[in-house]
Amino acid sequence: MSTAVRPGVGSQPQHRPQHRPRPTSRSLLLERVRRLGLPYLFLVPALVMELLVHIVPMVVGITMSFKELTRFFISDWSRAPWAGLDNYRFVIDVNRPVGAALLRSFGVTCAFTVIAVGLCWLFGVTVAILMQDTFRGRGGLRALFLTPYALPTYAAVIIWAFMFQHDNGLVNHVLHDQLGLTGEPSFWLIGDNSFVALVVVSVWRTWPFAFLIVMAGLQTISKELYEASSIDGAGVWQQIRYITLPALRPVNQVLVLVLFLWTFNDFNVPYVLFGKSAPSAGDLISVHIYQRSFVTWNFGTGSAMSVLLLLFLLVVTGLYLPLTSRRRRRDARPS
């Protein structure tokens, strides 16, 4: 590189090689290796960590799902006999209690995810758009709205667990004692109400994340669009309808996917809210698999359930991304 011929230097370069040693082919090779290898070198720490904590354990987990890994083999699991697809047959057999329970838990999780993600997204977009302009108290409100998201999950859930207590909780005090809406104080953490409790807690601590992302997305919309449209006589509502919402589509695509994956896999909220035994109406799939694995110590079937869960998430993501991208492209075309 240092010997590159500069234009306009005339015959000078011809003498150069005799005075300065030309780079040998070996040092050129070294230089090439260094240049090509450098990005990989930068990636090594991330790769090692991902391999150790994600990739290898996942491969091991998939292997475990094909083994008869009951409590008898737990100390030396590599000696456990192969089970073929038996674990999978066992966990999807809906005529047996284990399969039926898994199916019900899956249904509960789907319903929970659709409702919670829908509400989080709706709340986040609404509040972010309403707070797009500056007004008095905007900074303070933003801090207040972000606080539930900033709280550590377990602290947030513990507060709600306290509020949902039957005898001394805030929720029953307001609904029953103060508003008189219920004839009897309700149980929130057992029975069917636990589903409502789960949705409320999950939405309370996750919608600010949607708010944060949409807020960031709004900042990328250029001001000129709004100015031009308001010169053309568009009101605020029309601007929201025709400028803001379409501009948010790319952000929404990623946001909804991330919310879906987090909510579907959520372990922390149900685990802290219900403790060791989740009521069947609040039996989300992560906790269900966790309890199945550790109650029966049958990690083979537990792993099979986890693998099915992963497959489901892969299929949904694999369908979602192309579908939404195509719609985005179609909608982006001028009509």
């Binding site: 996942m58 309403l130 302009d133 409100l141 550590p152 944060l212 960031a216 605020v236 372990f267 992560s286």
Partner: protein, 300 residues
């Protein structure tokens, strides 16, 4: 934290924050007032319940809920340190979260630099793989990881299971995908001419990264650090399996207030507040950087 310059803030001349040069119509203003008030109540009531209940005597939190304490007491804040070894959990959480954050951010910076500034084989494969790990259910690799840590411990004598080191390694990878993704976006927004100028001045690639790219990307890096710290500070599933009595973190330790027949709700609330203050304060102070970082990188 105090030394962070204000000039990196997103509010400065950013587009789109102001929609109209004129005041919005009344219908919009009233909708805004009503909706935002409702959301403010929704967000504030649990925080209020935590704050006031942490200042109540035990009798207040055992009977019917009351909006105002019968008497104010700081007793719960004294007792929390004795009921469970909260100070030890606090120390463990601080060590684990700080180390995981430092390592995660460092690793993410180098990876993002490679992805942003070099074109190499496997570049796309790397980003897709790293991002897709976000999708893995934690429950799928919890058990294998536990077995791997135990086996590494047996083979090499490095205790990962039950130690803080094991948790640090685990947590740092949880925030890596988001951090790399966001920093790639952020680095892409920094003109390449800047690092080329540094290279002409005699910096190596690492020198250019340290002297030019990192200073220019400070808001993005701060944002990523907040995210990594919050992730590590909040995690429950792995903490409950991979720690023992001496390495227990707050996420698991807070359960100690309710294992007895009686739940000391006032202490639970006081402890929740104490463990939340560091992250909430940090987050609210630095959230501008998070929005700025997301705007420059991720949501583009």
């Amino acid at each position: 934290m105090r030394g962070l310059p204000e000039r990196g803030s997103p509010e400065r001349g950013s587009p789109g924050t102001r929609r109209l040069p004129t005041a919005p119509p009344r219908s919009f203003v009233w909708t805004r007032r009503v909706v935002l008030t409702l959301f403010a109540v929704f967000a504030a009531v649990p925080v209020y319940a935590m704050l006031t209940s942490s200042l109540k005597p035990l009798a207040d939190v055992q009977g019917k809920f009351r909006w105002f304490p019968s008497e104010l007491t700081v007793r719960p804040y004294v007792d929390i340190w004795h009921t469970v070894p909260l100070a030890r959990y606090f120390l463990n959480s601080t060590i684990v979260a700080s180390a995981a954050t430092g390592l995660s951010v460092t690793i993410a910076i180098f990876s993002a630099y490679a992805v942003s500034r070099y074109r190499f084989r496997g570049r796309r494969l790397f980003t897709v793989t790293v991002l897709s790990t976000q999708m893995f259910p934690g429950i799928l690799f919890l058990l294998p990881l536990f077995l791997i840590y135990v086996n590494i411990g047996n083979a090499t004598g490095i205790a990962l299971y039950g130690s803080r080191a094991g948790l640090i390694l685990t947590y740092l990878t949880f925030s890596l995908p988001f951090s790399i993704w966001m920093l790639v976006g952020y680095f892409d927004s920094i003109p390449r001419g800047l690092d080329e100028a540094a290279r002409v001045d005699g910096c190596g690639p690492v020198g250019a990264l340290l002297r030019v790219v990192i200073p220019a990307a400070t808001p993005g890096i701060v944002a990523v650090a907040i995210y990594a710290f919050m992730t590590a500070w909040s995690e429950v599933l792995f903490a409950s399996v991979m720690t023992n009595d001496t390495t227990r973190t707050l996420a698991v330790g807070l359960r100690g207030y309710s294992t007895q027949n009686d739940v000391y709700w006032n202490q639970v609330m006081a402890a929740s507040l104490v463990v939340s203050v560091p992250v909430v304060a940090g987050f609210l102070l630095l959230q501008r950087y998070l929005v700025a970082g997301l705007t420059a990188g991720a949501v583009k």
